[in-house]
Amino acid sequence: MDLRTAIQLGIIGLTFFMLINASALLVLAERKIMGFMQQRYGPYRVGPHGMLQPLADIIKLLMKEELRPKGADKWLFTLAPIISVTAAFAAFATVPWGAQTTFFGLLDEPVKLGVADVNVGVLVVFAVTSMGVYGIVLAGWASNSKYSLFGGLRASAQMISYELAYATALASVVMLAGSLSLREVVDSQSGVWFGFIPRWYVFLQPIGFIIYTIAGVAETNRAPFDFPEAEQELVAGYNTEYSSVRFALFPQAEYINMATMSAVATDLYLGGWHGPWLPPEYGWIWFLAKVGVILFVYIWVRWTVPRYRYDQLMSFGWKILFPAAVINLLVTAALVLYFNA
């Protein structure tokens, strides 16, 4: 194995490791920010400022008993959380997170920071995310519990409804960039307009960005769209019957999906790793900063906006968000053609 292959494998390993860390960090961040917003401390006992809380949580969950309710489907019950987590990890595979680098002249040819660079990257994210539905709907069905089943059904109906709006919003960006590779989309956003406005697509596609963000919240089943696990109605929804690590894998998949959604939003709308002051090799710092801001907004929204009603959610997705995305796409197309001619 030559140095280049080793470094590429190292990048994949690092991305994987960072995703695991991101899920742990997000659990902590969510509880800390929630505490701050509700004027209390949040976790503070385990480690300095409660920093080790996620580690303590996962050790605790590892030591708990795995329960599988009577009448549950043995194989699908175990398979469901594995599908959820695998889809969450795989969705990040085509998301680049930094510019090309030679590692300070270590390599002759620069390598790309990111797991995989394929020419249909945007569609791969879309395709793999749509696989995540199965983890949830199978968990609901396999549990043989009424709450689980309804949680799973609701989740799948919700996710597929918002998938349309989000995919259509992404098509507008693809049209502007003229490429399906996330890396090329990012690189088409380098530079500035009029000397001070960065050429980010969020300025060309403000409506698309809003649609994408809202659909992203619904896709990851987070408040105010967290109907699959609406605790007042469904106890814990699709994961009611889960315990121990098999339970932990569902929130982990949810947090990784959040990170993926934010990373894709950064790459497509916020210029990825492009930013002022820093040299391109350190662009990943910009990337992380932008992802962090979007993640903060996710958490902020969760603790600020009350939950919708399910019928409101469905009619909002189908009657407002999806038509808005289509109109946005057609207007973008007309403008592209008008200014190109």
């Binding site: 994949i12 590892l62 009577k70 549950a72 594995i82 595979a93 660079d117 409804s161």
Partner: protein, 131 residues
Amino acid sequence: MDGWLGVLIMIGLGIGFAGVMVGLSLLLGPKNPTPEKLAPYECGMAAVGDARERHSVKFYLVAMIFLLFDIEVAFLYPWALALRDLGWPGFVQIVTFFLILLVGYVYVWRKGVLDWGPVSSRVRSQRPKAA
């Protein structure tokens, strides 16, 4: 082809991670099942009937409509990429496509497939204004 290897490795790592975690908890966790623990949760009461009952046909309808619009979305991507080559004729084509789908969309909307609220509120909102 190289790029796809990365996707494959990522899938493998995901399955491996989930498998190791589940396996570890099976090793470390206690095993002390009792009939009460293994009963499906129903707020502390004994479970009534089978959970896998027949449910609303609406879910099926939504999946069907989603499938049809998903095909439309899959067509959008090649069109979005080729738009600059196709020019205005391409734009007219996609608008025609959308107009035909709009008929179906309006039909589905008017038939109440997209409404999930209780029937009473739906009937109220659908009552013709002239009558």
